[in-house]
């Protein structure tokens, strides 16, 4: 089947298999930031946005993004760097494999919360697993990021 969609502000028209998953679709187009950590919608690593809303790309058929807008971390380079600087300062990225999915959700959270509390952050990001960091350094980084964002507004 043929689908048409915008990924990171570029239009793609592609012939796909009907059972192709969104994660495999975007990776095949070169958007390698999207990672697979499980096969059961538990880890959050494969998070992308469809029409600006975070979804698990391992659990969405590529066919479902027909005529929709998909964003991966490659499409948010500057925003990713802005969050990334805080994570890097804490050494929170460690192996880095969960970072793209985490940052996609941090940026999604930013659209919903101006000044999230610690609880808001933990709740919002509960689906983003990380095995290296123990989450503390991520929390320190995210709180500092939102502090600064709050001050800038």
């Amino acid at each position: 089947m043929q689908i048409t969609c915008r990924i990171n502000n570029r239009e793609f028209i592609r012939e796909i298999e009907p059972d192709l998953l969104l994660i495999d679709f975007v990776r095949s187009l070169g958007f390698k930031s999207v990672k697979r950590g499980c096969d059961t919608s538990n880890c959050g690593l494969c998070t992308v946005w469809v029409d600006e809303k975070p979804v698990l790309s391992c659990s969405v058929l590529a066919a479902r993004v027909n005529h929709r807008i998909v964003t991966t971390l490659e499409g948010l380079e500057e925003e990713a760097k802005a969050v990334g600087r805080f994570l890097a300062k804490e050494g929170a990225e460690q192996c880095g494999f969960c970072s793209p999915g985490l940052i996609m959700n941090i940026l999604a959270m930013k659209k919903e919360f101006k000044t999230p509390t610690t609880d808001d952050i933990k709740q919002y990001l509960a689906g983003n697993l990380c095995r290296c960091s123990g989450y503390e350094s991520q929390l320190r980084a995210i709180e500092k990021y939102f502090d600064l964002e709050g001050k800038n507004q």
């Binding site: 890097a88 460690q94 990380c130 095995r131 123990g134």
Partner: protein, 729 residues
Amino acid sequence: MKTVNQGIEKIDAMSLLTGKAVYTDDLALENCLVVKVLRSPHAFAKIKDIDLTDAMKIEGMECILTYRDVPNKRFTMAGQSYPEPSPYDRLILDRMVRYVGDPMAIAAGTSEKAVDKALKLIHVSYDLLDPVLDPDKALDHKSIIHPEADYHVNGDIGNEVKRNLCASGEFSAGDVENEFSRCCVIVDRVYHTKANNQAMMETHRSFSYPDHAGRLVICSSTQIPFHVRRIAATALDIPKSRIRVIKPKVGGGFGAKQTLVSELFPALVTMKTGKPAKMVFDRSETFTASTSRHEMKIRVRIGADKAGHILAIQMDTLSNTGAYGEHGPTTVGLSGHKAMSLYNRAKAVQFTYKVVYTNTMSAGAYRGYGATQGTFALESAVNELSDLLSMDPLQLRLKNILKSGDTVAAYYGETINSCPLPACIQKGREMIGWDRKFPFRKISPTRIRAVGAAIAMQGSGIPDIDRASARVEVQEGGFYTLMIGAADMGTGCDTILAQMAAESLGCDMDKIVVSSVDTDASPYDTGSYASSTTYVTGMAVVKACEELKRKIEAKGIYPALSASATHSSPVSPPPFMAGFSEIEMDLETGETKVVEFVGVVDCGTPINPSLARVQTEGGIVQGIGMALYEDISYNPKGKMTRDSFMQYKIPSRLDVGRVRVEFESSYEPTGPFGAKSIGEVVINTPSPAIAHAIHNAAGIYLRKLPMTAETIFMTLKEQKTAWPSVLKN
């Protein structure tokens, strides 16, 4: 110091954080054959026949390989220096399958769909054998798991393979029975730790291709590039010089990647077909067909006099190595030595062990490597001892632990240069508010908060065996390339080694370039495991830089001026940690959460305090998972019951409370800039500290991990006497 002991950002931070294509699967060639493995559905069987006729009819199939197609040379997949202590008990594909998940056929095709379809059409017939599933019944079981004639061990490891005994041994110093006869209090208990999965976010994966000279290139997510080269050469029966191993960025390892897991399957396909091939394990395969932590049952006998002087410690470990012996003979040693050494005031110590084969997934390396299991056992016993003595558990420890300057018989006779453990205990005591909170506080009619504590040590590399080298070279324009063979798996070793180089050479960090490992270009290193990289590879870097400095002073600085150094340490100075947990328990449901965990660590000089802190926080949270939820278990037929993150729960950010870390840094004279290791010691204290807190909350000793809400509830119910008395307070 300008760069060492500074919390410098990782040199690869921004590329990781912006999602650049730097991991194995991101770099794989587009035209790789897709490789998958048909796995045994039986725990123990002999293959009668494999019929590939139907499977090979599928369009797009390139080849399907079986036991008929592999070299008949046994080897071990354990990433250890040659001659490996692990037995040579494997073939790439064996006619005998020894656990549910053991590979039976390797299928390669042009698409995943074709391969999946073909796997379903491979017809296998078996002679079913009686599996050994219980480690307690493995010894002298009528089923012999490795009856093969070409089974081989490299040295005396106390192996009696026909008895399903992979390894055994003993160690003693002093006369334990005599000392026990002088004790007025003795704890004698068995502690049981389960197999755990390392659960790094990037599953096992590798790809291979032939290079311009017809050599085999293996690109793998591994901690042990040089061991992969050697082991693959043995397994594939080709010269080592015909293999090149490349290690890109690695998405976590924790020991899982200290063993070959995926590498040989695509490599064999490339050898047979001459084509690029790739294998990516899915999560279920990573759970069921890799390696786990060794399950151990550890009997501890520990006795003290009335004043709380520990006189004798006896530990006896039964370790379950599963179907293959990867790391079996070595992990078990740490369960005794790295626990007992903490209590060097004891007059006599004895350690005996057996490692048995069973028809479950092979165990292997996982952060802590046996010390974690031994620490849970011994530290729990010490907490029980303090209870019997009615002595503050911290006081009991301060009375009995090792000190700087001690020569420790149980620690291979090494002399300890740097041990600030008393300061770690004192600082942690203040941070957690021990004196206010011990043993428990009732916060509602049904909820209790309680604290618990434990201490731990580890090593820094394997003495005289781990070997690391470094090469530093002046480049045009006045920057330096630092070539290392140590494998950064997310830990940040590329960064901290660059920090050491910058400090030694007196330049800025941006003048140091570090490459990923490529066995054709990088200098030899045994790999990143056994807490070796900071301490062993770090020394190699310092030596190489000092040598280069001498050359620059003598000859001036010019491009191509270079220096190399190799380092191996005769000692393995232990890092130390004191861990304190505060838990909240719901007495009606048994639900227990860690409200706060405090870790005070001595890793010598922290080369990068930010990264050392994150290592510690991460290790603590893995330890909390081990303590409370993580459990590899099998159904009665030997099939693993939890093979996804849906069932095998690792802690999420909602599951852990605050984790607070401080350092009490000693200076280790044999380490680079005074550094020791950090990576492993940090996982050892959570299990015993949480078990202690659970006891302080509810009066129950849980001696088996994990300590789930269900176990706590059922134990509370059984021991009705314990908890109502707590509730009365």
